[in-house]
Symmetry: C2
Subunit: 182 residues, 2 copies
Protein backbone atom coordinates (compact mmCIF):
# COMPACT_ATOMS: atom_id res chain seq x y z
CA UNK A 1 0.00 0.00 0.00
CA UNK A 2 1.39 3.41 -0.95
CA UNK A 3 1.39 6.31 1.50
CA UNK A 4 -1.19 7.94 -0.72
CA UNK A 5 -3.62 5.05 -0.65
CA UNK A 6 -3.18 4.69 3.11
CA UNK A 7 -4.11 8.35 3.39
CA UNK A 8 -7.08 7.86 1.07
CA UNK A 9 -8.25 4.99 3.27
CA UNK A 10 -8.49 7.34 6.23
CA UNK A 11 -10.49 9.95 4.35
CA UNK A 12 -14.18 10.31 5.00
CA UNK A 13 -16.20 8.74 2.22
CA UNK A 14 -18.99 11.04 1.16
CA UNK A 15 -22.24 9.14 0.83
CA UNK A 16 -25.40 9.88 -1.13
CA UNK A 17 -28.38 8.94 1.03
CA UNK A 18 -32.00 8.75 -0.05
CA UNK A 19 -34.95 8.72 2.36
CA UNK A 20 -38.04 7.94 0.33
CA UNK A 21 -41.43 6.21 0.62
CA UNK A 22 -44.82 7.39 1.84
CA UNK A 23 -44.21 6.93 5.56
CA UNK A 24 -43.32 9.53 8.15
CA UNK A 25 -39.63 10.01 8.90
CA UNK A 26 -37.93 11.23 5.71
CA UNK A 27 -37.32 14.89 6.49
CA UNK A 28 -37.23 14.03 10.17
CA UNK A 29 -34.36 11.56 9.65
CA UNK A 30 -32.53 14.15 7.56
CA UNK A 31 -32.90 16.61 10.44
CA UNK A 32 -31.46 13.98 12.76
CA UNK A 33 -28.44 13.57 10.48
CA UNK A 34 -28.00 17.32 10.47
CA UNK A 35 -28.03 17.37 14.27
CA UNK A 36 -25.53 14.51 14.38
CA UNK A 37 -23.24 16.28 11.86
CA UNK A 38 -23.54 19.50 13.87
CA UNK A 39 -22.41 17.59 16.95
CA UNK A 40 -19.24 16.61 15.07
CA UNK A 41 -18.59 20.22 14.07
CA UNK A 42 -19.40 19.42 10.44
CA UNK A 43 -20.96 22.17 8.33
CA UNK A 44 -24.37 21.14 7.03
CA UNK A 45 -27.18 22.87 5.13
CA UNK A 46 -30.73 21.80 4.36
CA UNK A 47 -32.41 23.23 1.26
CA UNK A 48 -36.17 22.68 1.28
CA UNK A 49 -37.73 22.47 -2.18
CA UNK A 50 -41.38 22.45 -1.10
CA UNK A 51 -41.69 24.07 2.32
CA UNK A 52 -42.79 27.66 1.98
CA UNK A 53 -40.20 30.40 2.40
CA UNK A 54 -42.22 31.78 5.30
CA UNK A 55 -42.20 28.40 7.07
CA UNK A 56 -41.59 28.66 10.78
CA UNK A 57 -41.87 25.08 11.92
CA UNK A 58 -40.05 23.42 14.80
CA UNK A 59 -37.01 22.74 12.66
CA UNK A 60 -36.74 26.37 11.54
CA UNK A 61 -37.00 27.61 15.10
CA UNK A 62 -34.43 25.08 16.29
CA UNK A 63 -32.18 26.00 13.35
CA UNK A 64 -32.15 29.63 14.44
CA UNK A 65 -31.34 28.61 18.01
CA UNK A 66 -28.44 26.44 16.87
CA UNK A 67 -27.07 28.33 13.94
CA UNK A 68 -28.06 25.49 11.58
CA UNK A 69 -28.63 26.51 7.98
CA UNK A 70 -32.14 25.48 6.87
CA UNK A 71 -33.39 27.29 3.78
CA UNK A 72 -37.06 26.77 2.83
CA UNK A 73 -37.67 28.18 -0.64
CA UNK A 74 -40.75 26.43 -1.94
CA UNK A 75 -44.30 27.61 -2.50
CA UNK A 76 -45.97 24.86 -0.50
CA UNK A 77 -48.06 22.06 -1.97
CA UNK A 78 -50.63 24.21 -3.80
CA UNK A 79 -51.87 23.26 -7.22
CA UNK A 80 -53.34 26.16 -9.21
CA UNK A 81 -51.70 26.92 -12.59
CA UNK A 82 -50.25 30.20 -11.30
CA UNK A 83 -48.90 28.53 -8.17
CA UNK A 84 -47.34 25.77 -10.26
CA UNK A 85 -45.46 28.32 -12.37
CA UNK A 86 -44.27 30.02 -9.19
CA UNK A 87 -43.24 26.69 -7.63
CA UNK A 88 -41.30 25.75 -10.75
CA UNK A 89 -39.43 29.06 -10.76
CA UNK A 90 -38.62 28.74 -7.05
CA UNK A 91 -37.46 25.12 -7.48
CA UNK A 92 -35.10 26.15 -10.27
CA UNK A 93 -33.81 29.07 -8.22
CA UNK A 94 -33.18 26.77 -5.24
CA UNK A 95 -31.52 24.19 -7.49
CA UNK A 96 -29.14 26.94 -8.65
CA UNK A 97 -28.25 27.66 -5.02
CA UNK A 98 -27.93 23.92 -4.33
CA UNK A 99 -25.47 23.43 -7.23
CA UNK A 100 -23.31 26.26 -5.95
CA UNK A 101 -23.29 24.83 -2.44
CA UNK A 102 -22.58 21.32 -3.74
CA UNK A 103 -19.60 22.58 -5.73
CA UNK A 104 -18.33 25.06 -3.12
CA UNK A 105 -16.46 22.62 -0.91
CA UNK A 106 -17.69 24.57 2.11
CA UNK A 107 -20.07 21.90 3.36
CA UNK A 108 -19.65 18.42 4.75
CA UNK A 109 -23.37 17.65 4.38
CA UNK A 110 -26.04 19.03 2.05
CA UNK A 111 -29.67 17.96 2.43
CA UNK A 112 -31.95 18.39 -0.59
CA UNK A 113 -35.29 18.09 1.20
CA UNK A 114 -38.27 17.05 -0.96
CA UNK A 115 -36.16 17.31 -4.11
CA UNK A 116 -38.10 14.32 -5.47
CA UNK A 117 -41.13 16.48 -6.33
CA UNK A 118 -39.46 18.96 -8.75
CA UNK A 119 -37.66 15.93 -10.23
CA UNK A 120 -40.95 14.09 -10.79
CA UNK A 121 -42.59 17.17 -12.31
CA UNK A 122 -39.68 17.40 -14.74
CA UNK A 123 -38.73 20.88 -13.51
CA UNK A 124 -35.17 19.81 -12.67
CA UNK A 125 -33.54 17.15 -14.89
CA UNK A 126 -32.44 14.06 -12.93
CA UNK A 127 -29.29 13.84 -15.06
CA UNK A 128 -28.26 17.32 -13.96
CA UNK A 129 -28.66 16.32 -10.31
CA UNK A 130 -26.64 13.12 -10.74
CA UNK A 131 -23.92 15.06 -12.57
CA UNK A 132 -23.76 17.63 -9.74
CA UNK A 133 -23.54 14.80 -7.17
CA UNK A 134 -20.87 12.95 -9.15
CA UNK A 135 -18.65 16.03 -9.38
CA UNK A 136 -19.11 17.17 -5.78
CA UNK A 137 -16.01 17.47 -3.53
CA UNK A 138 -14.76 14.23 -1.96
CA UNK A 139 -16.08 13.41 1.47
CA UNK A 140 -19.31 15.42 1.19
CA UNK A 141 -22.51 13.64 2.25
CA UNK A 142 -25.69 14.45 0.35
CA UNK A 143 -29.16 13.49 1.54
CA UNK A 144 -32.20 13.53 -0.76
CA UNK A 145 -35.70 13.17 0.66
CA UNK A 146 -39.22 12.88 -0.75
CA UNK A 147 -41.71 10.38 -2.09
CA UNK A 148 -41.11 8.58 -5.36
CA UNK A 149 -37.46 9.43 -5.95
CA UNK A 150 -36.59 8.67 -9.62
CA UNK A 151 -34.99 5.27 -10.29
CA UNK A 152 -31.78 6.78 -11.74
CA UNK A 153 -31.14 8.58 -8.46
CA UNK A 154 -31.94 5.46 -6.41
CA UNK A 155 -29.41 3.58 -8.52
CA UNK A 156 -26.79 6.26 -8.03
CA UNK A 157 -27.26 6.51 -4.23
CA UNK A 158 -25.15 4.62 -1.66
CA UNK A 159 -27.85 4.26 1.00
CA UNK A 160 -31.58 4.13 0.36
CA UNK A 161 -34.29 3.69 2.97
CA UNK A 162 -37.93 3.36 2.01
CA UNK A 163 -40.13 4.68 4.82
CA UNK A 164 -43.15 2.43 4.67
CA UNK A 165 -46.43 3.51 6.33
CA UNK A 166 -47.73 0.85 8.68
CA UNK A 167 -50.08 3.25 10.46
CA UNK A 168 -50.60 7.00 10.24
CA UNK A 169 -52.79 9.03 12.62
CA UNK A 170 -53.86 11.47 9.88
CA UNK A 171 -55.77 8.53 8.43
CA UNK A 172 -57.58 8.12 11.74
CA UNK A 173 -58.63 11.79 11.52
CA UNK A 174 -56.12 13.02 14.11
CA UNK A 175 -54.78 16.42 13.08
CA UNK A 176 -51.09 17.14 12.52
CA UNK A 177 -49.46 17.64 15.93
CA UNK A 178 -46.93 20.30 16.91
CA UNK A 179 -43.45 18.84 17.38
CA UNK A 180 -44.37 15.79 15.29
CA UNK A 181 -45.53 16.89 11.86
CA UNK A 182 -44.16 20.45 11.95
Amino acid sequence: MTAESAQAGKEAIGLVLVFTGHGKGKTTAALGLMLRAHGHGMKAAMLQFIKHSRSNFGEHRAARLLGLEIMPLGAGFTRTAKDIEKSRALALQLWGIAREKLASGEYEMIILDELSYPLQYGWIPVKEVIEALRSRPRGMHVVVTGRDVPTELIEFADLVTDMHVVKHPLKKGIKAQRGIEF
Copy 2:
Protein backbone atom coordinates in the same frame (compact mmCIF):
# COMPACT_ATOMS: atom_id res chain seq x y z
CA MET B 1 -70.42 21.06 21.94
CA THR B 2 -69.75 21.94 25.58
CA ALA B 3 -67.07 24.47 26.55
CA GLU B 4 -65.11 21.58 28.00
CA SER B 5 -65.10 19.49 24.85
CA ALA B 6 -64.22 22.58 22.77
CA GLN B 7 -61.26 23.08 25.10
CA ALA B 8 -60.31 19.42 24.82
CA GLY B 9 -60.43 19.75 21.03
CA LYS B 10 -57.70 22.37 21.18
CA GLU B 11 -55.45 20.30 23.41
CA ALA B 12 -52.40 18.65 21.92
CA ILE B 13 -53.02 14.98 21.34
CA GLY B 14 -50.10 12.94 22.55
CA LEU B 15 -49.10 10.33 20.01
CA VAL B 16 -47.22 7.05 20.33
CA LEU B 17 -44.87 6.74 17.36
CA VAL B 18 -42.88 3.68 16.37
CA PHE B 19 -39.92 3.75 13.98
CA THR B 20 -39.02 0.17 13.22
CA GLY B 21 -37.58 -1.98 10.41
CA HIS B 22 -34.05 -2.89 9.39
CA GLY B 23 -33.30 0.27 7.40
CA LYS B 24 -31.36 3.32 8.45
CA GLY B 25 -33.33 6.23 9.86
CA LYS B 26 -35.01 5.02 13.06
CA THR B 27 -32.94 6.75 15.75
CA THR B 28 -32.09 9.48 13.26
CA ALA B 29 -35.78 10.31 12.71
CA ALA B 30 -36.32 10.31 16.49
CA LEU B 31 -33.44 12.81 16.78
CA GLY B 32 -35.14 14.95 14.13
CA LEU B 33 -38.38 14.92 16.14
CA MET B 34 -36.42 15.92 19.22
CA LEU B 35 -34.90 18.86 17.33
CA ARG B 36 -38.33 19.89 16.04
CA ALA B 37 -39.83 19.67 19.55
CA HIS B 38 -36.90 21.69 20.92
CA GLY B 39 -37.65 24.37 18.32
CA HIS B 40 -41.17 24.63 19.75
CA GLY B 41 -39.83 24.97 23.28
CA MET B 42 -41.16 21.53 24.20
CA LYS B 43 -39.23 19.51 26.77
CA ALA B 44 -37.98 16.25 25.31
CA ALA B 45 -35.72 13.44 26.51
CA MET B 46 -34.18 10.47 24.71
CA LEU B 47 -33.35 7.35 26.72
CA GLN B 48 -31.06 4.98 24.85
CA PHE B 49 -31.45 1.33 25.81
CA ILE B 50 -28.51 -0.04 23.82
CA LYS B 51 -25.99 2.74 23.24
CA HIS B 52 -23.19 2.51 25.76
CA SER B 53 -23.18 4.94 28.66
CA ARG B 54 -19.80 6.23 27.49
CA SER B 55 -21.16 6.94 23.98
CA ASN B 56 -20.00 10.24 22.55
CA PHE B 57 -21.52 10.23 19.11
CA GLY B 58 -22.67 13.22 17.07
CA GLU B 59 -26.03 13.26 18.82
CA HIS B 60 -24.45 13.28 22.28
CA ARG B 61 -22.14 16.12 21.35
CA ALA B 62 -25.00 18.09 19.78
CA ALA B 63 -27.16 17.38 22.84
CA ARG B 64 -24.55 18.94 25.11
CA LEU B 65 -24.35 22.00 22.86
CA LEU B 66 -28.13 22.44 22.87
CA GLY B 67 -29.09 21.37 26.35
CA LEU B 68 -31.02 18.38 24.95
CA GLU B 69 -31.41 15.47 27.33
CA ILE B 70 -30.02 12.30 25.76
CA MET B 71 -29.24 9.52 28.20
CA PRO B 72 -27.37 6.47 26.88
CA LEU B 73 -27.44 3.72 29.47
CA GLY B 74 -26.87 0.51 27.57
CA ALA B 75 -23.91 -1.85 27.42
CA GLY B 76 -23.62 -1.88 23.63
CA PHE B 77 -24.41 -4.86 21.41
CA THR B 78 -22.05 -7.38 23.04
CA ARG B 79 -23.05 -10.99 23.53
CA THR B 80 -21.09 -12.80 26.22
CA ALA B 81 -23.11 -14.25 29.12
CA LYS B 82 -21.63 -11.73 31.57
CA ASP B 83 -22.37 -8.84 29.20
CA ILE B 84 -25.92 -10.04 28.72
CA GLU B 85 -26.50 -10.03 32.47
CA LYS B 86 -25.07 -6.52 32.66
CA SER B 87 -27.19 -5.37 29.69
CA ARG B 88 -30.31 -6.79 31.29
CA ALA B 89 -29.63 -4.99 34.58
CA LEU B 90 -28.95 -1.70 32.76
CA ALA B 91 -32.10 -2.06 30.63
CA LEU B 92 -34.20 -2.58 33.75
CA GLN B 93 -32.56 0.36 35.47
CA LEU B 94 -33.22 2.58 32.44
CA TRP B 95 -36.80 1.33 32.22
CA GLY B 96 -37.27 2.43 35.85
CA ILE B 97 -36.03 5.91 34.92
CA ALA B 98 -38.24 5.90 31.81
CA ARG B 99 -41.37 5.04 33.85
CA GLU B 100 -40.68 7.90 36.22
CA LYS B 101 -40.20 10.34 33.35
CA LEU B 102 -43.30 9.06 31.57
CA ALA B 103 -45.40 9.58 34.70
CA SER B 104 -43.79 12.84 35.80
CA GLY B 105 -45.70 15.21 33.52
CA GLU B 106 -42.48 17.17 33.03
CA TYR B 107 -41.95 16.17 29.41
CA GLU B 108 -43.81 16.79 26.18
CA MET B 109 -41.81 14.10 24.34
CA ILE B 110 -40.02 10.97 25.53
CA ILE B 111 -37.99 8.86 23.12
CA LEU B 112 -37.32 5.24 24.07
CA ASP B 113 -34.48 4.53 21.67
CA GLU B 114 -33.88 0.87 20.81
CA LEU B 115 -36.40 -0.25 23.40
CA SER B 116 -37.38 -3.06 21.03
CA TYR B 117 -34.30 -5.11 21.97
CA PRO B 118 -34.92 -5.48 25.74
CA LEU B 119 -38.57 -6.14 24.84
CA GLN B 120 -37.60 -8.93 22.45
CA TYR B 121 -35.19 -10.46 24.95
CA GLY B 122 -38.04 -10.53 27.46
CA TRP B 123 -36.12 -8.32 29.90
CA ILE B 124 -38.92 -5.74 30.04
CA PRO B 125 -42.53 -7.00 29.75
CA VAL B 126 -44.39 -5.44 26.78
CA LYS B 127 -47.54 -5.24 28.91
CA GLU B 128 -45.74 -3.07 31.43
CA VAL B 129 -44.64 -0.69 28.67
CA ILE B 130 -48.14 -0.44 27.21
CA GLU B 131 -49.57 0.17 30.67
CA ALA B 132 -47.05 2.98 31.29
CA LEU B 133 -47.90 4.52 27.90
CA ARG B 134 -51.64 4.24 28.52
CA SER B 135 -51.41 6.01 31.85
CA ARG B 136 -49.02 8.77 30.75
CA PRO B 137 -50.12 12.41 31.06
CA ARG B 138 -52.34 13.74 28.25
CA GLY B 139 -50.57 15.41 25.35
CA MET B 140 -47.22 13.64 25.80
CA HIS B 141 -45.66 12.18 22.65
CA VAL B 142 -43.69 8.95 23.00
CA VAL B 143 -41.39 7.58 20.31
CA VAL B 144 -40.14 3.97 20.34
CA THR B 145 -37.37 2.88 17.97
CA GLY B 146 -35.64 -0.37 17.11
CA ARG B 147 -35.93 -3.43 14.90
CA ASP B 148 -38.72 -5.95 15.39
CA VAL B 149 -40.98 -4.03 17.77
CA PRO B 150 -43.46 -6.49 19.36
CA THR B 151 -46.90 -6.72 17.68
CA GLU B 152 -48.78 -5.61 20.82
CA LEU B 153 -46.86 -2.31 20.81
CA ILE B 154 -47.39 -1.85 17.05
CA GLU B 155 -51.10 -2.34 17.64
CA PHE B 156 -51.12 0.17 20.49
CA ALA B 157 -49.17 2.87 18.58
CA ASP B 158 -50.77 5.74 16.63
CA LEU B 159 -48.08 6.09 13.97
CA VAL B 160 -45.81 3.32 12.75
CA THR B 161 -43.16 3.61 10.05
CA ASP B 162 -41.20 0.60 8.87
CA MET B 163 -37.78 1.71 7.62
CA HIS B 164 -37.08 -0.70 4.80
CA VAL B 165 -33.52 -1.18 3.51
CA VAL B 166 -33.30 -0.68 -0.23
CA LYS B 167 -29.53 -0.24 -0.19
CA HIS B 168 -26.99 0.03 2.61
CA PRO B 169 -23.32 0.94 2.15
CA LEU B 170 -22.15 -1.32 4.98
CA LYS B 171 -23.18 -4.20 2.72
CA LYS B 172 -20.86 -2.81 0.04
CA GLY B 173 -18.01 -2.86 2.58
CA ILE B 174 -18.01 0.89 3.19
CA LYS B 175 -17.29 1.59 6.85
CA ALA B 176 -19.66 3.54 9.10
CA GLN B 177 -19.17 7.24 8.42
CA ARG B 178 -18.97 10.06 10.97
CA GLY B 179 -22.08 12.23 10.91
CA ILE B 180 -24.08 9.46 9.26
CA GLU B 181 -23.93 6.32 11.41
CA PHE B 182 -22.73 7.93 14.63
